[in-house]
Subunit: 539 residues, 2 copies
C-alpha cells in the first residue's frame, strides 16, 4: 500500500497530562526537534496561553526549521459569544502556528453536563470556530471529543457534529475515543459509517488506552479508512495514556505495509523513545513493545538455544528495523547456556567443563539469590566472568571507608568521605567532600586511585538508581544500587547490593572503575543519549 | 451472553520468563492462593522438574483446597523415542496435577530448525504425548506454539497438527501467538478457520504483547469463538509479556457482556494485581489500565471540573467495579481548582479568596518546580495545606543531625546517627545505630521524640523509594525520596527532595511522623497489602 498516512504526535500536549509528566519549554523544544528527525507529520505543541511554558514554546519553535507542522490546541468558542472575540481562538492565532487543532463536543450528554448548553448552540460553536480559523488561513483539524461514546448514544447527533465541522471547512475530522472505553470492532464499524458520510474532509483517529486497546483501536480505524493517527511517544497521556506511537508506527509500517516513515527514520525509533523518556524523566518499562530493553531479550532456556540457531524462531521482526537489539538474559531460570552465550558475546573464552566455570556459574546464581541482578549490570557480570578466567588484576587492597553527612539548622548539608587502601604495598588515605554521600565517596576513591590510574579522570557517573528489595526471608530488607558510568560516548552499568545503601553504592562504584580500567566499555553497549540530557550525578 | 469462558493464568510459568521476575516457591504459593480467590479457572504452576522451586510448589500446592485447577507445563516427548519413557512427561504425571499443558510445534520452520526433525515425526510426538497423558487420566490442554506464524506459512500443516492433537484426545486446542507478531484481524480470520474444523475439542488463545496487541488479539479470538484465554497478571512474561489478564477480564466482563468472574471477585482485581506486583517486586506503571494508581486519575483542568460534576464524563467505567478509585492530581497544569478539590477530599476547609490560600498554592507550585511531586505524597501535601490553614502545631525545633557510615575490611558496615533538637524549650541530643543510614536516622529521631509523643511507637516505614531527578538547569542533580509509612492498617506517603539523599530522606521521615501525629492516616487512602509481603525497611 502506498496510501499516505499522517502521524500526529501529541506528546507535548496530551502527553503532559499523564501523571508525573512535566516538561519545561526547553524540554518541549528538544522533544519537538527529535520528533521532527523521526519524521512525524504533525507536532501538537500545547495550549497557547494556558501557561508560560507553552507561550515560550510557540514563540521559540518558530526559529526552528522543521519538516513537521506545528499545531496548537484549543476548544471551540465559548457558548453564546462570538468566535471573533474569543480569547482562546485569538491565542491560537497569536501563537503563529499554521495548523489549529480544535476540540469540540460530539456527545449530547457532554453538551448538557459539561458545557451546559443546547445541542444547537454546540453545533454553532463548532461551525463558527472552524470557519473563523479557516478565514484566518489556518489548516484546521477538528477533534470530535467522545465521538464513539456519542455515536453509541445518539448517532444522529454525533454525525451532525462532523457534518457541521466539514461544512465549516475543517481539513480533518478526527474521531476521539476520549475515555478509552471503545472496543476495536466498534471502532471499525463506526469509522466505516463516518467514512461513508464524509465527502471532502479526511478522517483521523485519537485513542486512549484505558482498556489496553489504544494501539489496536488506532489500527482498526486505519483499516476502516482513517488517514491520520494521533498518539504520543511511549503512550504518555491522561489516565492510562494515549495510543503509543512507538507501537503504532512499526505496526503500520512493518506489519500492515504502509510507508509511514523512511526506513532510516524507523531505525531511530528506539533511540527517540528512550531519549524522550529521559527528558520526561519517566521510567520506561523494560518490556515496552519494540523499543524496551527487554523487547528482544530472551530468558527461557528453550528460547535461548533456538534463537542462537536462528533469530526468527522467537523474534517477530529483526530488532535492528526499529533500532533495538537482541539480548540474552542471565537468570537462574535458564542456567548455564545463557551465561555461556553471554560470555561469548563479551568475547570471553570460557570452557564449560572447567572447574572455575562451574564455580562462577554457581557464584552468579548465589548472588542473584542475594538480590543482585545482572540483567541490568553487564559490566559487573563481565568482571565476574573475567575474574573466573584469571584475566583481571587487583586494582587495590581495600582497608576502610567512612562517610559523614552533617546538617546544622540554617546551613547547607555537608558530605565528607574518607578512604583508606593499599596499592602495590603503599598505604593511601584520602578525604573528600561531595554534593552528596555517593559523590563524596566517589571523589575520595578517585583521589586515592588517580595517581596510579590517570585514565579514571575521564570517567563520569551518568545515572544512579536505588531499588529497595523486599527480602521476604529476613527481618532486614536490602537495597540494590545500579550505577551507569560513561566515558567518551561509551557507557556501562554496575550493581551493588547490601542492607546499607552506602555500602551497596560503594560496591557498584568500585565495579564501575574496575570495568573502566579493563577498557571493556564497548561501543555496542551504548544507547546514545544526547549529552545535554544528563548531568553529573552527585549523590 | 452467558457462554462460559475459561481464564487460564500462567503468571507462575510464562510470567517468570519476563526480565527481572523471579519467584520463590513461597511466592508462587501466595500468588496461587490469591489467583484462586480472584476466581481464575486454571493456574499453570510451572515446569515440573525444571528447578527445585517448581518441584516444591507442586508438592505443597496439593495441601491447598483451591477451586482453580492446577496445571503443569511441559513439551511433547523427545523425537525418536517413546512417550512412556519420556522423563518430562513422567515429571508432569509425578507432579500430581490433574491437568497437563503440553506445548508442541505447529510451524514447519520450527520443526526443521529448532527440533531438527521431520514433519511426520512432530505429528507423532504430539499424538503419542497427548494420548499417553490421556491414558493416565489427565485433562490435556494442547498449546500449539507459533500457530499463527505456522498457519500463515503452511496452513495445511498447522491445521494437521491441531487435527492430530484432537484425534489423540486433547481437551483444548490452544492457538499461541508465541512471537506476538500477529494482527487482530488475522487472529480473527485464523481462529474462524480452526473453529470450522475442530469438532469435539474446545479452542483457546495464548497471545504475546510484542506489537502491544496481546489484549486485542485475545478479545479478537474470543469474538471468533475461542473459549479459553491464557494470560498473566499485569502482563508479565517473556520479552514484552503475555496478554494482561487485568485488562482482558474486565474487557470481557464489563465491555463484552461475558460473566467471567463473580462481580465481587472482579472488585478484587486491583488489589490482586498490586499484591502480585509487590510479591514479584516489579514496579507497576501508574498508568496501567483498570488497576494502575493513575487509571482513574484526572489532571487536565477541563477534565477535573467536568468529573466533579459527573464522573461518567471522563471515566469509561465506575472505578469501583474493578476495586480501583478516582483521584484528582495536583499539578501545575491544572492549577488551583485541583488543589482546592484535593483539600475538599481531605476535609480541609480552605477559602480560595484568602491570602494564605494563594500563598500555599504558590508554594506548592514552587516546590513542584524544585522536584517535589505531591501526586504520590498525599500526606506531605496535606501537611502543607493544614499548615496554611493554621491548624498544625510544631512538633520540635530542629538543631542538627549527623550521620556516620563506616566500613572496615572484613567487618560488617555500621551506621550511626546523632540528632539534636528542642521540644518545649528542652534540649534533646540522641544517638542511635541502624541497619542503614536512614534506619539509623529514623531510630535517633524517634528516640528523641518518643517520650513526648508515645504514639510514634506504632508507626513503621513500609517502603522507601529513591528517584534521581535530572535537573537540567544546574550542574548538580537532585534526588527525590518517597517514604510510605503504616500503622494499624493505615498507610500514608511523604516526600523529600535534596541534592543529598540523606537530607531528602530526613525531610520525608519528619513529614511521615508529623502526619502520623495529626491522626490523619485515613482508611480510604490504604490499599491493602497482606502484612507478610513487606518487612520493615532498614535503610
Amino acid at each position: 500500500m502506498t496510501k499516505a498516512l499522517s502521524i500526529f504526535d501529541t506528546t507535548l500536549r496530551d502527553g503532559t497530562q499523564g501523571e508525573g509528566i512535566s516538561l519545561s519549554a526547553d524540554d518541549k523544544l528538544k522533544i519537538a526537534k527529535k520528533l521532527d528527525d523521526l519524521g512525524v507529520h504533525y507536532i501538537e505543541g500545547g495550549i497557547p496561553g494556558s501557561n508560560n511554558k507553552d507561550i515560550e514554546f510557540f514563540k521559540r519553535i518558530r526559529e526552528y526549521k522543521l519538516n513537521a507542522k506545528i499545531t496548537a490546541f484549543g476548544s471551540t468558542r465559548r457558548k453564546d459569544s462570538l468566535a471573533e472575540s474569543d480569547p482562546n481562538l485569538a491565542r491560537i492565532i497569536d501563537s503563529g502556528v499554521s495548523v489549529a487543532t480544535l476540540v469540540g463536543k460530539s456527545w449530547d450528554f457532554h453538551v448538557h453536563t459539561a458545557l451546559q448548553t443546547s445541542l444547537e448552540e454546540n453545533l454553532a460553536m463548532i461551525y463558527d470556530s472552524i470557519a473563523f480559523l479557516k478565514r484566518k488561513g489556518l489548516e484546521v483539524i477538528f477533534d470530535a471529543e467522545h465521538f464513539f461514546d456519542g455515536y453509541k448514544k445518539n448517532p444522529e447527533y454525533a454525525l451532525s457534529v462532523m457534518r457541521k465541522a466539514e461544512e465549516a471547512g475543517a481539513d480533518w475530522l478526527v474521531m476521539c475515543d476520549t475515555n478509552g472505553g471503545t472496543m476495536p470492532h466498534e471502532v471499525h464499524d463506526i469509522v466505516t459509517v463516518l467514512k461513508g458520510q464524509a465527502t471532502s474532509a479526511r478522517v483521523g483517529i485519537h485513542t486512549h488506552n484505558d482498556c489496553e486497546l489504544a494501539v489496536a483501536n488506532a489500527i482498526s480505524a486505519v483499516r476502516a479508512g482513517a488517514e491520520q493517527i494521533q498518539g504520543t511517544m511511549n503512550g504518555y497521556g491522561e489516565r492510562c495514556g494515549n495510543a503509543n506511537l512507538c507501537s503504532v508506527i512499526p505496526n503500520l509500517q512493518l506489519k500492515l505495509g504502509y510507508q509511514v516513515l523512511e526506513d532510516e527514520q524507523l531505525q531511530q525509533l528506539t533511540n527517540t523513545a528512550r531519549y524522550i523518556s529521559e527528558i520526561a524523566n519517566v521510567y520506561m518499562p523494560v518490556n515496552q513493545p519494540y523499543v524496551g530493553s527487554a523487547a528482544f531479550a530472551h530468558k527461557g532456556g528453550i528460547h535461548v538455544s533456538a534463537i542462537l540457531r536462528d533469530s526468527r524462531t522467537y523474534e517477530h521482526i529483526a530488532p535492528e528495523l526499529v533500532g533495538n537489539r537482541q539480548r540474552v538474559l542471565v537468570s537462574e531460570l535458564a542456567g548455564q547456556s545463557n551465561i555461556l552465550s553471554k560470555a561469548q558475546q563479551m568475547g570471553i573464552q570460557i570452557d564449560p567443563e572447567r572447574e572455575s566455570t562451574r564455580e562462577v556459574i554457581g557464584r552468579i546464581k548465589e548472588l542473584e539469590h542475594e538480590g543482585y541482578q545482572f540483567e541490568g549490570a553487564d559490566a559487573s557480570l563481565e568482571l565476574l566472568l573475567r575474574e573466573a578466567n584469571g584475566d583481571l588484576k587487583e586494582l587495590f587492597v581495600f582497608e576502610s571507608f567512612k562517610m559523614l553527612v552533617e546538617k546544622i539548622a540554617g546551613r547547607p548539608v555537608t558530605s565528607e568521605a574518607f578512604v583508606k587502601l593499599k596499592i602495590d604495598g603503599a598505604s593511601i588515605f584520602t578525604a573528600a567532600e561531595g554534593n552528596g554521600p555517593v559523590n563524596a565517596l566517589d571523589n575520595a576513591l578517585r583521589k586515592a586511585l588517580i595517581t596510579y590510574y590517570p585514565g579514571l579522570q575521564d570517567i563520569h557517573l551518568s545515572d544512579y538508581k536505588v531499588r529497595v528489595l523486599d527480602d521476604k526471608d529476613a527481618t532486614a530488607s536490602k537495597v540494590r544500587v545500579l550505577i551507569e558510568s560513561g566515558s567518551f560516548g561509551n557507557s556501562w552499568s554496575t550493581v551493588g547490593v547490601s542492607g546499607n545503601v552506602i555500602e551497596a553504592s560503594w560496591e557498584a562504584l568500585v565495579d564501575s572503575l574496575r570495568y573502566a580500567l579493563i577498557g571493556q566499555a564497548k561501543r555496542e553497549d551504548y544507547v546514545a543519549i544526547s549529552s545535554d540530557s544528563r548531568g553529573l550525578v552527585n549523590h
